[in-house]
Amino acid sequence: MTSVHPNGNDPAPRLDRAAIAKRAARDLVDGSTVNLGIGIPTMCADFLPDGVELLYHAENGILGFKELSAPGEGDPNLMDAGGKFPKLVPGMAFFDSVESFSLIRGGHIDVTVLGALQVSHTGDLANWMIPKRGIGSIGGAMDLAANSKRVVVAMEHTARDNIAKIVDECSFPLTAPDCVDEIVTDIAVIEIDRKNDRLVLREVAPGWSCDDVQAHTEARLELDGEPGLMA
């Protein structure tokens, strides 16, 4: 694999992790049942637009959790899938793993937001194993990616040394093929247009041109009107 932009000539600062989460959160629709992965996706919960309330699902068997307990006050019998301890709130529901994955596999999760190691131009997702390590953890990622109504990837646009993560074909083991609908990064918002089998550049970060984003992307990006500004 080659660095697409080895000198790392960024025309402007990239967005920070919180700003990626904030942008991804903007597309979450009020009332949706949502599963947020670990890392940037979890941070989406801190940036919901006014008036938007979501029903959060965690695959260990909890629906309807909100904020976490204060440090040192959590109950191990009230955990989320990231191993953190949410507060008990009215309307919360507990269930076992059979039920939890019936919910997922049955297509009842409206939106899953997760991180990625690579996304291909057709929306293939790789996020569970780095080949040179030789061992990884699938957890609920394959079920969520393959079966959620909408899959959003929230991640940094490139890996260390500016190695492209949005690629023609994933070289890492797949989590699920043909599953990603939208990619939100620190420099762009990209839609996977499955009908026309293409990636559409929808937004760029302030100070970044379409060419700048393309230079950091292995897969070819297309335009469908002028891209907006990420904010």
Binding site: L78, D96, V98, I138, G140, M142
Partner: protein
Amino acid sequence: MVFVCEHFGTNNQRSVSDIQEKDRTIWRVMPINKTTNSFADAVADIPSGASIMIGGFGGAGGQPTRLMMALRDLGVGDLTIIGNVAGISKTTGYGWPDHLDPIDQGMFFESGQATKIICSFPVPGTTNPLSDIEKAWREGKADVNIVPQGTLIERIRAAGAGIPGFYTPTGVGTTVAEGKEHREFDGKAYLLEEALSADYALIRAQKADTRGNLQYIGTSRSFNPAMATAAKTTIVEVDEIVEPGGIDSERVGTLSTYVDRIVQRESGDPLP
């Protein structure tokens, strides 16, 4: 024709004259009172080479931590462990209160008792420090079979429900699908996954009645109810054992029929 009925457990209340008839089948009639006196007694018959489901999700809640420690102390080897998020708590603190030293399924690889694990999440994102499972795997001492979580729990459910296999969309187009039968339904591809059973299930519940009906609390359900149905022998660690009626019939989470032995923790146990 073979007519055998085998009694076991520490509180047999039926006589051997309860022998019943079934062709070429040896089956066990459970004692009505399934209370076992100690964690050591509860796991004492587990032999080397056994396959063992360990309940919970990962983290302290729902994990049969005292049964796991008893199995470690028993010292039997060549074990196959079936778990979920198996061995990441010790090095990351996952699912444990900050003030405690986390215990996870990696203990059986640290002790050299386990040679294989079937789970969905064997290793954390970080390799510093190296988890016990990854260390054993790198040294060639452990076979690690990684299964998507929804497929893992459904394979366990299927085993308990008498279903030998099922088709799932999860894993199609990935390494998980290699060598498995594929079939299309309504133009979409699915792959065949097979039921997964075990010799023993070690599980955790909040409360049991003496018959073995179980009640769970919060997110501690996770893999426990399904595992209870899928093993030849199901052993349960609980915080409290009550008389029949002490669990509201509306709140029974696992039926006593699935349960072989129950052990109560000492009151004031500092482990969650």
